[in-house]
């Protein structure tokens, strides 16, 4: 872990971005650095701007000000599909899988080059064995947990350097949360992850670094191992969200 903090090589560097949605100033100077090969988690209350931060990186809500540097390249202002094609996979909140498409089609759609799915099929079905069994079902026939797995699996089809994962545990049963955590932990070996996670226990077990976002600003960042010991900080910015044990996060 110390190695990571010493190398100054960030795969993704978000530098004081300002984002508006309509006329609402959602992000007012958010900075996030994500080191290569690490898991970084965005923490904060509901509505603090975590999801918007991911969307801004992805180009879905372009920033008015600030820089987003990915892999040594400025990407703010680029269109979302260009950004995705640089090697960023996006797993949105609320499992935005395509309901009218089968599981297999959902995965096929994510291919960037022909044969992407075949190349990674073993890896994907190894992480989420259910998906292979369900491949002919339509998206709207899946349970919530299966949809969430499909949403994550979809981001693994092409070769991605960075994954943006928004609330993977939201609305999942405890046993599925465990499975999801296992999957994300395995992903860490091959890619870099920027995570948004309300479930503090899950976040603290997965991530090496954290960034706290509060009211549209990034207010604190550091090593997860330090944060767990800093009850005061946790209480100040995360409040109720950490008191919830894993089982309570089941919707």
């Amino acid at each position: 872990m110390t190695e990571l903090t010493n190398t100054n090589e960030y795969l993704l560097s978000v530098q004081s971005i300002d984002t508006f949605i309509g006329q609402f100033h959602i992000l007012e100077g958010v900075s996030v650095n994500v080191a290569k090969g690490s898991i970084t988690v965005l923490l904060g209350r509901n509505g603090a701007g975590k999801t918007t931060t991911l969307k801004t990186v992805m180009g879905l809500t372009p920033p008015r000000d600030g820089k987003v540097i990915f892999d040594g390249q400025e990407i703010q202002g680029k269109r979302a599909f260009n950004i995705a094609n640089l090697g960023i996979g996006y797993v949105p909140e609320n499992r935005a899988i395509f309901r009218a498409l089968t599981v297999l089609e959902n995965l096929k759609l994510a291919e960037r080059n022909k044969g992407d799915l075949e190349r990674h099929a073993d890896f994907i079905y190894d992480l989420f064995p259910d998906l292979e069994r369900l491949s002919k079902l339509k998206g709207n026939q899946l349970s919530g947990g299966q949809q969430q797995m499909l949403a994550v699996a979809r981001a693994l089809v092409p070769e991605n350097k960075l994954l943006l994962i928004d609330e993977p545990s939201e609305g999942l049963a405890p046993i599925l949360i465990q499975q999801m955590m296992e999957a994300i932990r395995k992903l860490k070996d091959t890619t870099t992850i920027l995570l948004v996670e309300q479930n503090f226990i899950m976040a603290s077990q997965l991530a090496e670094r954290y960034v706290i976002i509060d009211d549209g600003k990034s207010v604190h960042s550091g090593l997860m191992s330090d944060l767990v010991l800093n009850q005061e900080l946790i209480h100040q910015y995360l409040g109720a969200s950490i008191q919830a044990p894993i089982s309570a996060s089941e919707a």
Partner: protein, 496 residues
């Protein structure tokens, strides 16, 4: 699986109702009238489908109601009719269009250099406007004193091949030496506009450029085509007119469809794309566009109605008793179970069915279809997967317009070709889409066939019972009202 059972029940009921209605009509009208009216209904239904398929695809994916769709149908008919009857106008204008497009297409070639220019902010804003202005001036110079009306008039004279193969006098065109500078200037004009579109000096637009070879391909192909068509302006129309009539008709269908595709792409990119954030403006814009296109056609070809001659395969007098006999003799009518029916209308039915199969395969089997089905639900997420959704929008719009144009040329041999010919089909197309369900191509097909039958049997009953013929037109609206009351989302529409 309660849901599944319900679905099967509905299908069974639907089939029973369809057969019940058909049997009732059959026993009431008698075999002869029934077959004749059914075939007429299917002919109309095929044309309705070609119009409605585009409307429903475009609405389903982009929420755009294209009120210029009927005009596209009309333009398809004009394009095909002219290519078939006298392509002088098409070949006379083609080099100019190609030259301008070739100019526009240099964007990928010059953009990587232009965006790297170091310009002050004010020049970044001013330069594109100046370039557009310069492009406009050069463009106007290029077409100055170009006798487009005279060229358009040639279309009104059908040129008949004589037995010796000689052609009637083609109206003389501008000599090559005087014509030549027009494409040159138009290419420059296009390139100036392209430079403006490229946003010179805008560093945010800098991307890793593709290899030079790839960027050169398209402009060079277009330039070669421009030069080629500049030289064959006159001989090309002769060549086309000396062709076998059936082949010429097949080419006319392709030309009209291709023209629709390119026109659709052009309209989407230049006029609709800037308005996606203001959906209501799109309705007004397309409505206005339909008037502009109609007036333009009237200016060029007068508000007259033309009758396109049927291709030889459907034109010889006489009645064939089998399909083989028809194909061998090119009979204009065929006997189906004792009923005499025009062979060309059978071709239109075939066209509708083939296009339905094509659209079905496209939507279910191809990657584009997958993208469309996903994009209907969530275009943003499709984009986040690395797919250029804007380009998909353009393709779908172009495809929809191409289908309408195909309907237009399909209809041209038995409908009068005139500026208003698309209006009625657009209206029926919208009713079809409402009945079938917004965004569903299967619904569009079912709705189109229902409407076609309603129109045909409406006409039949009006005649038989001495009712006003408008009852046929009213019947489609009545069906729409009934469907809206019973199933507001349409027969095949999704609830959400």
């Amino acid at each position: 699986m309660k849901h599944e059972n319900k679905k099967i029940l509905y299908i069974v009921i639907a089939i029973l109702v369809i057969f019940g209605v058909l049997y009732g009509l059959y026993s009431y009208a008698g075999q002869e009238a029934f077959i004749r009216t059914t075939l007429s209904g299917l002919t109309l239904g095929s044309l309705f489908f070609l119009v409605a398929a585009g409307l429903t695809l475009i609405f389903g994916l982009m929420d755009v109601l294209n009120f210029a769709h009927g005009s596209m149908f009309m333009l398809g008919a004009y394009a095909g009719w002219q290519f078939y009857t006298n392509p002088t106008f098409i070949f006379g204008v083609l080099p100019l269009v190609l030259a301008f497009v070739a100019g526009i297409m240099v964007i990928p070639l010059i953009k990587p250099e232009l965006v790297r220019l170091k310009l002050s902010d004010s020049w970044q804003k001013r330069l594109p406007k100046l370039l557009y202005l310069a492009g406009l001036i050069v463009g106007v110079l290029a077409v100055l004193k170009f006798d487009i009306a005279g060229l358009a008039e040639t279309a009104m004279v059908a040129i008949v091949t004589t037995s010796t193969g000689a052609l009637a006098e083609l109206s003389p065109q501008e000599p090559l030496l005087r014509f030549m500078w027009r494409p040159v200037l138009l290419f420059i004009s296009g390139a100036l506009v392209a430079a403006g579109v490229s946003k010179p000096g805008d560093r945010a637009e800098i991307t890793a450029p593709e290899p030079l070879k790839n960027r050169l391909v398209l402009p060079i192909i277009l330039l070669v085509l421009t030069i080629l068509f500049t030289f064959v302006r006159e001989s090309a129309s002769e060549l086309v007119l000396l062709m076998n009539g059936n082949l010429r008709f097949a080419l006319a269908v392709i030309v009209a469809t291709l023209f629709g595709f390119l026109l659709g792409a052009l309209i989407e990119i230049t006029m609709i794309r800037p308005l996606y954030i203001r959906p209501f403006f799109i309705v007004l814009m397309t409505l206005g566009l339909s008037f502009v296109l109609r007036e333009l056609v009237q200016v060029l070809w007068d508000p007259l109605a033309y009758q396109m001659v049927r291709p030889p395969l459907f034109a010889q007098p006489g009645r064939a008793s089998t399909i083989a006999e028809w194909l061998a003799n090119g009979s204009s009518t065929i006997s189906i179970a004792g009923v005499t029916f025009p062979t060309y209308r059978l071709f239109v039915i075939l066209l509708g069915v083939v296009m339905f199969i094509f659209v079905t395969l496209l939507m279910t089997k191809s990657r584009l279809g997958m993208i469309i089905r996903a994009g209907v639900q969530d275009p943003q997420m499709v984009e986040a997967l690395g797919i250029n959704v804007k380009r998909v929008f353009t393709i779908v719009f172009a495809l929809g317009v191409a289908l309408a144009a195909l309907g237009g040329i399909g209809a041209a041999p038995f409908l009068p070709v005139q500026p208003m010919m698309g209006d009625q089909y657009q209206m029926q197309g919208f009713i079809t889409v409402v009945i079938g369900g917004m965004g569903s191509y299967v619904g569009a097909f079912a709705g189109a066939m229902i409407l076609g039958m309603a129109r045909a049997f409406g006409d039949y009953f009006a005649l038989k019972l001495q009712l006003s013929p408008t009852i046929a037109e009213a019947s489609t609206v009545i069906i729409m009202i009934i469907v809206l009351l019973l199933r507001p989302q349409g027969l095949f529409g999704k609830k959400d």
